[in-house]
């Protein structure tokens, strides 16, 4: 049987990869995928603890996260397309309209 410890390490590793990808990569699509990675890392730990504690609430919460992630993906991709149409680039360093 795979111990709890491994799941948590995998989840933390996935999350760290997501964070690193979000901070280090400049392509908007890659950054977006990194965010999905972080969400799924969280899902994994939720399900792990749900199984470990024999409490279904963790798995319910994971479904919520998946639903929210789906909505977020729809909106996020729409934003990225609109952005790309306007700026003709997917490189975030060239997008700084929000500068003060």
């Amino acid at each position: 049987m795979v111990p709890l410890y491994w799941y948590i390490v995998l989840s933390a590793a996935l999350f760290s990869v997501g964070v690193f990808g979000f901070l280090a990569r400049r392509n908007v699509i890659i950054m977006f995928m990194s965010i999905e990675l972080m969400l799924n890392a969280v899902n994994m730990s939720l399900i792990t603890f749900s199984h470990y504690l024999q409490d279904m609430r963790g798995q319910i919460l994971a479904f919520f996260v998946i639903a929210v992630a789906a909505a977020e993906a729809a909106i996020g991709l729409a934003i990225i397309i609109a952005l790309f149409r306007n700026k003709s680039t997917a490189h975030v360093d060239e997008i700084h309209e929000m500068q003060g």
Binding site: V19, L23, R26, M31, V92, D93, H96, M98, G100
Partner: protein, 641 residues
Amino acid sequence: MEYYLLIPFLPLAAFIINITLGKDILRNKADWVSVLAVCGSAVVAIYTLYDVAVLKNTYDKDLYTWIVSGNFKVSVGFLIDQLTSVMLIVVTVCGSLITIYSVGYMHGDPGYYRFFAYLSLFTFCMLMLVMGNNFLQLYFGWEGVGLCSYFLIGYWYEKKSASDAGKKAFIVNRFGDFGFGLGVIMVFLYFGTLHYSVVFGNVQTIAHQTVNIYGYVISLPTLIALLLFCGAIGKSAQLPLHVWLPDAMEGPTPVSALIHAATMVTAGVFLVARCNPIFNLSETALIVVALTGGITALFAATIGLVQNDIKRIIAYSTVSQLGYMFLACGVGAYAAGIFHLYTHAFFKALLFLCAGSVMHAMGGELNLQKMGGLKKYMPWTYRTMLIGSLSIAGIPGLAAFFSKDEILWLAYAGESPVGKFVFVLGAIGAFLTAFYSFRLIFLTFHGKFRGTHEQEHHLHESPKVMIIPLMLLAVGAIGAGWVGIPPLLGGGAHISHFLEPVLGHPHVHATHAEEWLIMGISVLIAVSGIICASYIYLVRLDIPVRFARNFRPVYNILFNKYYVDELYSFLFIRPTLWVADHILVRITDAKFIEGVVNGVPKSIGDFSQSFRRIQTGIAQHYGIVMAAGAIFIIAFVLLFM
């Protein structure tokens, strides 16, 4: 039943209706509201006089508690006694005639409704002033009439001289009102109340008190009386605060007649008469009042001799006549002062309205030297103005003869230490009054017309709505004095007996022979003044020119009104403007106020300018900060908790 409440509140209602509905709905019908209201007040005022004089009722009633703060309590209350009822007649009867006259005079003016609204507001404030039963209500009315005076002097506000004159009147009055305000505070400090009945009832308690002001010991009654008198000097345009009244003639003529001749300017005399128990305690204050009045009466009359502006001559004449009223109060003859106030309201309103009628015909021309020969064009204006001038000159039988003679007689025969001196001042002033009044008549109505052909073509008698009030006022200028015919001439001196419960009666030590002598002198003075004027301005027209040439310095001093305006300009106005310009504008305003007002936003702006750099607009920078924060918090929790 407080039926007398209708007297002030009808004009107030007219004001509210006119100011809210006048501009859009009533427009050129706004006159009706004001005329009806003030005529209604006049009817009630006449009934009030009947009530007080015949039914012997007086009222002193608090209706509403206005202010309560600790032991300071003021009510809105009304005092209807003999003095008030006489003042009510003056204000409402003159007020209604002048309001009716304004219907014709102001016809077609763009601010028609505004004029009538202010006129009604003025009437309300003046009535509150005379009807109040305490000092604060008096003060309320006092400031209210000052405000309306300011509105109406500057009525044609597009004209710079008119708005300047309004400001001048307001500011000069502030000097007097400052003293008046202090006087009211002193009354409260020493009596603990502002009600007339309590103050005047306990007035003996302050008779021998003194106050120490920076080492000078001053008798308390003198101090209070003189502070109150300060207000009277300002409002009634006595020396040295007389400068605003001639300039106030920039307002429409009915305003000059109502506010600056018949009613508001006499508020000072009313104040002194109302506070006579306080003034009677202080001989010094009475001497000051008498001397101020006597000197002003003569001073203003000399200026009136050489002026060419028809309204200004009458304005100086008003200042001079107000001087007589103060002279009377100063020698203790308050009733004679109020009697003169009452007759003066009629003949002076008449003179002003006649001058307005002349201006109406002349297309706004004010210069006497451009008039002449108007007699045949405007017969009714001529006749009524002649009656007014005969009255003010003091021709026996007419109104001012009785009141002025009474003043001069009581000044001569009374107990005042300066009585004889002010009698001489008043007698010389009376000669000059007769002279300048008839100079005005002769230059305006006699001789040949000296204006342009255009003006001559335009000359016409004024409409009936203006002429009828003139006739009614002329009746007043003839008959108003008959209520005060002295016993010597077979009369009953009704008015002084009527006012005696409020104003007392001066002690007189003289014989009938002397009384005849004084009366003879005053008739002689009046007649000789008229004869001199007619000789100079009808027969020997070269005399005024020769006088002006040979006595150049004297003429210049009189023509320039003793340079008082120039002196004030040098002493007060220019230093004030210098301080305003060099210190207030350039230092206080530019450095301090603008320093703070501009400095605070500028430092906030500078700070945020440096702080805005962290908002790069690049999402990953925010992500780094978030991640760093999360790591920091996690590390903190793991290490320390």
